[in-house]
Symmetry: C2
Subunit: 210 residues, 2 copies
DNA sequence: ACTTGATACTGCAACTTGCAGTATCAAGAT
DNA sequence: ATCTTGATACTGCAAGTTGCAGTATCAAGT
């Protein structure tokens, strides 16, 4: 039976449309550019191009790079047609997996230090990428975009990421302040501070930017 | 071989610590409370409690509810110990899957309308939950929290969600404005507007809240 | 000559999801 | 009084995805 095109298949196909890549290069590219939109494992990025070849959406040929062979994948006309079709289909709902927030929800099983450590880890994961994006933008100003005609898309996406990261970092700082006021993690319930917070949220107001 | 405890296993175990549930009730609870921290399928929420029983972290007994039987799961002392251990372990990095952003990155395969539709879908997915959280907070003020002693945790988590949703909604509005200025989706490259944006981002400044 | 890190790729077990299917019961519609 | 609908309750299975171990070559620095 013919394999099925998943969203991940289209993601890889769209990368192949930029230029031919080896699976190895795809893994690097996908890690860097898709990490905060459509994160995929190295393993999958090695499998997907094969599937695309089977479907006639890509071709492959071996190249010799200093004695070692490597499989280079390129998109076909059918592949480009498939990409155009894809843009008309329904988008999947967003999905956020943030274990640090799970730790927060169930923080009453550990100490405040445990919770703060989870927030630290969250912050450093986000901070790393935040910094990388800022540096990437600086490099774009020096004409460093690998596909200059696509700069408008990359930058609008980067805007999303920066806004997101800033919000998360602000919230983490705010959360630290709240947690520091706690006498414990368990059984606090509706404290005066929590009540103030709840009132703001019930009116859809931001407690961080009042 | 003994099954392995995953983060999802701990999530279920933590829910069981609140009170005994049937798998069916767990699916509802997890959908409502964990959807934006640790989203899990109905199928998994039926499987995990069985695994917990096998590990000795939960017990199960059949209840008769009007002639129909149902399996109710409850946490054990060992389960509570396991939860306490869990709080000391390393947190996994966050993972955001947002197909609408993938559509943005590769918007040059479709029309502006295609891209705007993807953003609309993104907005309505977010908006639905945004509204639900606001209403939930209003209900907390009326003493509607199912586990009142845990209100401080729920509300701090809700703060995160509201901030996140607001930021996303603001960005979508901003992105619409940008896209409306485009003459096409393809080959725009570094337009004057994009350059202004890039300059701001390279200095880690928010283009939305200048 | 040797170690290290980048390049390049595969096999496999385990985790997770989506979907179809099965069945009972309560409540409202006809 | 029967019928439909929606909530409750659960399972099997195929397919998508990940993590990890393993294999191998090559370039560059020690």
């Amino acid at each position: 039976m013919a394999p099925k095109m998943t969203t991940s298949s289209y993601a890889v196909l769209a990368l192949l449309d930029l230029k031919p890549w080896t699976a190895y290069e795809l893994t690097n590219q996908a890690q860097r550019s898709l990490r905060y939109a459509w994160p995929k494992s190295e393993r999958l990025l090695y499998s997907e191009p094969k599937k695309l070849v089977e479907l006639g959406f890509a071709t492959t040929h071996q190249e010799k790079r200093g004695g070692r062979t490597r499989n280079v994948y390129a998109i076909t006309t059918e592949g480009r047609d498939a990409l155009r079709e894809w843009t008309h289909t329904r988008t999947q709902p967003p999905r956020l997996e943030i274990e640090a927030l799970l730790r927060l929800l169930f923080a009453d099983h550990g100490s405040q230090e445990d919770l703060l450590r989870a927030l630290d880890e969250f912050e450093s994961d986000i901070g790393e990428h935040h910094q990388a994006i800022v540096e990437l933008m600086a490099s774009y100003l020096d004409g460093g975009h690998p596909f200059p005609q696509r700069t408008h898309l990359s930058v609008l996406f980067a805007t999303f990421q920066i806004e997101m990261f800033k919000t998360i970092e602000q919230w983490i700082e705010f959360a630290r302040g709240e947690i520091d006021e706690w006498p414990a993690t368990r059984d606090l319930g509706m404290t005066p501070r929590t009540e103030t917070l709840t009132r703001l949220l019930a009116q859809d107001q931001s407690p961080l930017n009042p």
